[in-house]
Symmetry: C2
Subunit: 209 residues, 2 copies
């Protein structure tokens, strides 16, 4: 049995969607970020990074979205969530997922989590970081729109974990001060994903109590 630790509004949505699409039995445990449950001693025993997602498996805990996405795709190959039989295409999936993880998510994090990279008391620098987020996110999504998202899915006709992860992060755009309509392929992708029953089911769970 797999147990996913998540919080609503975070990148853990991508892994939650992958589990839902995989058809595997799983349990999703919500952490309350308002009471900082992700920093509580009992959770730090599960994930010493104090972040989500974390996936508890029979063999131990896994973290980091790109790692979880490939693990779920490999563990439940019948769901066809990644091109497992083609090292080049799988690298394309991992390239896209790494870019979301290390560049796009990081750009977004400078809006609300600037304290990670400057003194916590330095409000001016954190405000300066926040101010640049619309620009950096727009630059990232220009590259995604023009170079990486083939359409309708990231790889083209083939659906993959990259679509779950892109959807997760593209949902942050408007809140980051970037109009989705600037990116027609991304906008179309968001709409296609919104219409998927697995997405609706997982989001309903995130929005419930």
């Amino acid at each position: 049995m797999l147990t996913l630790y998540y919080a609503p509004g975070t990148c853990a949505l991508a892994s939650h969607l992958a589990l839902e699409y995989s058809g595997a039995p799983y349990e999703a445990k919500r952490l309350d970020f308002k009471t900082e449950q992700q920093r509580a001693p009992e959770y730090l025993k599960i994930n010493p990074k104090g972040r989500v997602p974390a996936l508890a498996t029979d063999r131990g805990v896994l973290t980091e979205t790109p790692a979880l996405l490939q693990y779920i795709a490999q563990s439940f190959p019948q769901a066809q969530l990644a091109p497992l039989d083609d090292a080049f295409l799988l690298a394309k999936v991992n390239e896209f997922n790494s870019y979301l993880c290390a560049t796009v998510h990081v750009a977004h994090a400078h809006k609300g989590r600037g304290y990670r990279w400057v003194d916590e008391a330095d409000a001016a620098s954190q405000e300066a970081m926040k101010k640049k987020v619309p620009q950096t996110m727009a630059e990232c999504f220009t590259l995604i729109e023009e170079k990486f998202l083939k359409g309708p899915w990231v790889l083209g006709e083939r659906f993959s974990t990259s679509d779950l992860y892109l959807y997760t992060i593209a949902r942050w755009l408007e809140g980051d001060g970037v109009a989705v309509k600037r990116y027609p392929k991304v906008e179309d992708h968001l709409k296609r994903m919104d219409a998927q029953p697995q997405v609706q089911k997982v989001l309903a769970a995130h929005q419930a109590g």
Copy 2:
């Protein structure tokens, strides 16, 4: 034939080492960051992100270190650079590599590339970022030392791409104001890697000309 685009002192060292360990024929092309070759139009056609590493293959270009490392390991399985037959262990490699890429490398980048996340003219905020780098890098390496690096290699007895990537980033520690000797396992790992002939060969090429 594979062609790796790299610059000395960057994270591209990890992929360069993976190619060397793989035994595959490859060419390594050096970019001159001082003249901003990574932003020249001819390179942006290869990698529109304007970064290294990039790996040109017969089927197209791949970027992002974690993706390149797995691609090289999968393409040349006889080199045994990743536990390809074990989805959980492979996820452990990808978890570690994702952490280096999205957290540790990002922490380091705030020393010299703060302009990515604040206005280029805002020297005060960039200085504030730089000042915190010894603390964030030390926190990352405390986690690596205590939780992730099993020793002697990252996975324990089994060598993997995570060792190439850890070596690449651990070499930045002293320059980031963190004494390697605070982390005995990391220090031992650096020494073991320094002694490998493949490492010496690639570093000699980086240091030449």
